[in-house]
Symmetry: C2
């Protein structure tokens, strides 16, 4: 039985365990808040400290990229960490990420690195409005971001960012990446696996919708060959450059028919949760297969699937459970405003059936808790009805 | 969070936990061999004794029917046991089972109860050869069964059965049920859920193949409305008579277009394991939904699916994992000859694709470990090609 230690003990480690147990994989999770290795589902079952965890594991992986560098170094030194600490750090630092994209000659938004006021002034002179500023480290789900739409906001935003840089408790210096805002048509992502032989299996490109900066809905529908090929090539270049092993997610801005990389995540990803019901082998299982040197599983779309995030809610109307094609995934987390508490996967036999089911779902759900869902569902219905 | 205690800590409790965790259900398992309540996946995580388990639980259920009656009585007394101890006992005692079938006027094989030599002689005079003798208690997977094909074997079989009755360590007296052997065309089963409101959701009738008395393959293919209706009516009668709550399985002999009940199982069932990949909501989740008073999930067949039991083997060729439509479910059990170690679910888009995939699977697997599979797959291929 292969033993896998996951760095991080949140919902991604939990879902890895649910996917890995049927393969006889023994999954444990390191909780960096308590410095304890625990069972990924029975979190109160403590199995030791980080050193015990590293020693017991055959393979070590991560459920998130914002890990202390000393933890990453210890794991890298054991020779068991997949993907490598380099790959994880790239995902956790927008400076390294931008360097990687440039070195791979992958299209992305024009950007400048800001460590001080001079850099800030330089960025303003070289980029045109609107500009989005993102923290180099620790930023995710829309946190640590500022949007500059008019020059009279500049000084106020700088004051906030300067505070943010100064107060950072990160193990390497914090900075800000200024990006030319892209007037995109939609946001999409590709999630895929690469193993140590260099074999790649990618899921179909998924369309993603954000509400207040947080992913709210992902859609997996049949996608054009050209778009899939374009995303695959970027996936291929990036994973090859990193000699990547495991699941990697790439978020894109789509502008016309062109894809610009927004960011990469060196792990299983929220926009791949639909694969639990929409694919033969879900992203969690394929991540484990890749890092445990097992053959990669089929990544084709079985049937049109939508994923709806449950944000800040800890219950659902029972009528949701009664809908055919629905699967609910709770994370067993304490309720907190805006927190990712679980997700709903919704499957259908056709695009139009999926759109109709989404309309039905939006109707059942509390509109305050899912503010964009009804409009989004109606728009999808119009789009697929054409 | 609803807390569910499962009586029994084997693979069925394990798969209930894997299906129930995403619903935020807290599943624990009582291991009758150690008298401890444990985590259904992390079996070494001990959570107390039976009394603790009963006190902590909101709902109690069972993964097998051969439970000591004092355990069942304690659970029944708590008011939390679903299905009821009566229903569980019926599944664990062929005498009660036969009484139930008769009282429901459900077709089944002619039979006699044997507690002593006089009963045995009486059975021989009233039934015609061949006769199958099955232990009333504790018999499953072909254990505790004798086949009488010619009268000159009668005394030898009686000696064995008399020993078996005498040496029984069961809490109620052991006996033998003699059944007229049915010249069936095939064996099928229906698995379905009933909730406390009397709502029923049944999966499609599944075709089952046994090797040396143990289930080896189940097939879920589109089934005729007439056959499905016939099985549904039996399911409906039996579950109503028992005021049943949870998943119940009924095994049938099919003779022409008629179904005769072979036996019932008051629990999730091996012939329903295909639902993990072939249905929106699997039998494990629907069992939990039924006993936790949640709406029942969709039981329609999503796509043709076969389930192949892994018996006495603890590894599989890697090529199996690489086949599209394959999902492997190991039970993390120690290897023992003939033991149910896991199962393979195989999905396809059509009957003929499923048959072809089964041929391919049989080709990859070791023929010694899956002795009937290649022939069975070829026969299926011929059948669905017509």
């Amino acid at each position: 039985m292969t033993k896998v230690l996951v760095l991080g003990a949140g919902q991604l480690a939990r879902m890895m365990d649910l996917a890995g147990s049927p393969l006889n994989l023994d999954i444990t999770a390191f909780d960096p808040r308590t410095n304890r290795v625990v069972h990924p589902i029975a979190n109160d079952y403590v199995l030791g400290n980080l050193e015990d965890g590293i020693n017991n594991a055959d393979v070590i992986t991560a459920e998130f990229e914002h890990l202390a560098h000393d933890v990453l170094e210890k794991c890298q030194a054991s020779g068991k960490l997949l993907p490598s600490s380099t790959a994880i750090k790239v995902g956790g630092d927008r400076r390294l990420e931008k360097d990687l994209l440039e070195s791979c000659q992958v299209a992305n938004a024009t950007h400048k690195i800001i460590a001080n006021y001079d850099d800030f002034k330089m960025a303003l002179s070289q980029l045109s409005l609107p500009i989005i500023f993102k923290s180099a480290l620790e930023g995710y789900d829309g946190k640590g971001q500022w949007r500059l739409k008019s020059m009279d906001q500049a000084e106020a935003i700088w004051t906030e960012m300067a505070d943010f840089i100064e107060q950072a408790k990160t193990s390497v210096p914090q900075a800000i990446v200024a990006e030319q805002m892209v007037p995109f048509d939609r946001e999409v992502s590709i999630v895929g696996a690469r193993n140590s032989k260099g074999e790649i299996a990618v899921y179909p490109v998924t369309e993603n919708h954000h509400t207040n900066g947080v992913l709210s809905v992902s859609l997996a529908l049949p996608v054009s060959t050209e778009l899939q090929q374009q995303a695959f090539e970027v996936f291929s270049k990036i994973t090859q450059a990193l000699d990547y092993v495991g699941i990697l997610a790439i978020e894109f801005f789509q502008v016309g028919d062109e894809l610009l990389v927004n960011e990469i995540a060196p792990r299983v990803h929220n926009s791949g949760h639909w694969t639990q019901q929409g694919a033969d082998t879900c992203q969690f299982e394929n991540h484990l297969r890749a890092i445990c040197a097992l053959p990669l599983g089929n990544t084709e779309l079985i049937r049109p699937t939508a994923m709806v995030n449950i944000l800040g809610e800890d219950s659902l109307p029972e009528a949701v459970l009664a809908m055919p094609g629905v699967a609910i995934h709770w994370y067993e987390k304490e309720k907190r405003a805006g927190r990712k508490m679980g997700h709903i996967n919704l499957c259908a036999n056709s695009d139009i059936e999926l759109a109709n089911k989404l309309v039905q779902l939006a109707d059942i759900l509390d509109a305050h808790a899912y503010p964009d869902l009804a409009d989004f569902a109606q728009q999808l219905k119009q789009k697929v009805s054409i």
